[in-house]
Symmetry: C2
């Protein structure tokens, strides 16, 4: 299994790292020994919304050789601007044949703008529900939304729950329990609504 | 307030990013407008345990000008090796006058080896409780342990709970609720034992 972790300026770095941690443990803990990944960017230099520099391992290469595409989000108006960036969308569209496309937070706006959410149920950060409506069939407030070949997660910290959800999908409950223990994560992965939601 | 986020090879990047996210929101959401930070390393090149490159902003500079020192952990035997690295410990010791020293996961082994946990109650990743005993007064399994000028957190994902705990300490409950909402974090910060602990 080959994973593309997409990184870009100005993403929210926890959106990326929350799912990166459990997924890379699939390899380092021996559950999927041949799991490989690249940190994929369209530009050489990548900074989060506060300027934190992340070093990509693949720059402006087509994404068509990956099995799993993972797109983090960022501050809503900034990511919404990126949904009009033709160069970025064309690059993301090279992933059209990836078996599974996944996003965290407003990353779903980018998946949507690339056309990957057509006819799909999806979620995003609660402050971007309205914006997502233009890019998918149904917006929902579930923490992780599995729509088959596309899985979307809610805001920022939902990245960890998404990661554990993917682990369970790939290697089952028992292996995921061991990953969860190594991450010292005591919280139940809430696939339904967040307990603090008003809507 | 000036924060030193220590990064080093081979840290666990989620240990760093989990607390980095809420703390940097203190500045970007306007709660502490003059909060500044540096990404501090002893070497120019920093990679997590899987080789992910993080770009430091200060290299091998003394840490004596910071108010808050934050040290992430990494894979237990690798970090335990670093507790014998005199150059790293001397560098960390330049933070001795920082008002608050904080660690995530096995980062507490480094705080301890630098002498900052003498006479203190502290915690770490559950798989490093025994190792921590040599470096502090009492090892506890609480998720976040506030020992005054030193605060330690348990494994990896406890970094987020630590970050929110620090936010509440610095700017109070109401501001922290807003940060928590932006992070879309529905889980209660468990300062006591993890619900999945056997001990």
């Amino acid at each position: 299994m080959k994973v593309a972790f997409v990184v870009y300026t100005p993403m929210t770095v926890l959106d990326f790292v929350g799912v990166y941690d459990p997924l890379t443990r699939l390899q380092s803990m021996g559950f999927i020994p041949d799991l490989t990944w690249e940190i994929c960017a369209i530009a050489e230099s990548v900074g989060d919304s506060h300027g934190l520099g992340i070093v990509p391992t693949q720059i402006n290469q087509p994404l068509d050789s990956f099995d799993l595409l993972i797109v983090p989000g960022g501050i809503t108006p900034l990511v919404y601007e990126l949904t009009k960036n033709a160069q970025l969308l064309e690059w993301l569209q090279t992933a059209r044949n990836c078996k599974l496309k996944v996003s965290v937070c407003t990353g779903s706006l980018l998946l949507g703008a690339a056309g990957f959410l057509n006819g799909k149920k999806a979620t995003t950060h609660p402050n971007a529900y309205d914006l997502l409506q233009d890019f998918c069939e149904v917006v929902t407030d579930q923490r992780v939304v599995d729509a088959g070949d596309v899985i979307t997660a809610r805001g920022v910290t939902a990245s960890i729950d998404l990661g554990l959800y993917l682990c369970e999908k790939f290697v089952g409950v028992d292996a995921t329990k061991k990953i969860r223990a190594m991450m010292d994560y005591p919280y139940v992965v809430t696939i339904g609504r967040n307990s603090n939601d008003s809507r």
